[in-house]
Symmetry: C2
Subunit: 146 residues, 2 copies
DNA sequence: ATCAAACGTGAACCTAAGTTCAGGTCAAGC
DNA sequence: GCTTGACCTGAACTTAGGTTCACGTTTGAT
């Protein structure tokens, strides 16, 4: 399969990471990953791309949009394993975010429970249905990040 | 503004709820809300639509997709204030979901922190980058719900 | 009776995150 | 040296959740 030791084809990266080939190409267009090309224009990946891809998927799984992930990935040296420095920076970005989201959801969960208690006679005044104090006035959708 | 007491135009609902008129019409197409029509085909809403809309937005704010919200709204009697029964049912649906999501994010946050400690020499074996045990094999995106 | 503001409709457009497809090229085992 | 599976590209399509637009009708205050 792989010719030169340590270099991976897109199929190998896909298989090892569980991420579809189409998604890998898509991430490349969005500049989240990169690869050198063979003389025949095929992609050849450095092993470290597996870590990048893993990082991307882990981040996505908590709802972080690709654009944000791309920003954080600029801390990661291309074609090299993630440094401790990278982890410190990424973690600063992510865990603040995660903590905020956790807090938002806990508040909402608790308010739901309160609403049951109160029978929601005061629905319109109730914190649950006026979550602006928590979420701000950001329009529709799940504005947990962005 | 309002002619018959308690009936609201779409503009009034929009203004009071903070939800754009276009979104209200969109929710109607998705059968999340409804309204009677005047002889001139304009929408007239029962006051209770404000509660429905508030419920929709509160639910969306924690990432619940409209389709799921629509399901839960079938418990809500049309043109009537939410009953205690409704709250019990909705809360059963939502708080299970919220608890799961909170748990997922806490695990991921903690793993991020671990990764800093470990310098991620074992990145590929690390729980963070192989979150399938947590999220299952659901493909891309934030599969926290659905 | 008039007239502007508010309302109505359908169609097109938008972002995110991809997937699918058509048509063509590369590479490696036999 | 040939063949087949893997790879390439760009374009079109998808779902969610809407927004924007063009164009026509209703309302209700004066």
């Amino acid at each position: 399969m792989s010719a030169i030791a340590q270099e991976l084809t897109i199929g190998e990266v896909s298989h090892r990471s569980g991420v579809p080939v189409s998604a890998l190409r898509f991430y490349e267009r969005r500049r989240l990953i990169g690869a050198r090309r063979t003389s025949g224009n095929q992609r050849r990946y450095h092993r470290s791309v597996l870590r990048r891809v893993a990082f991307i998927r882990a981040s996505q799984s908590v709802g972080i949009p690709l654009a944000k992930i791309a920003e954080v990935l600029t801390f990661l040296p291309p074609d090299a394993p993630p440094t401790r420095e990278f982890w410190v920076r990424a973690s600063q970005c992510w865990s603040e975010t995660l903590n905020e989201r956790i807090a938002i959801m806990e508040r909402l969960r608790d308010r739901f429970t309160e609403c049951i208690g109160c029978g929601c006679l005061s629905f319109q005044q109730c914190g649950l249905v006026n979550p602006r104090d928590v979420l701000g006035d950001q329009g529709p959708g799940a504005h947990l990040l962005t």
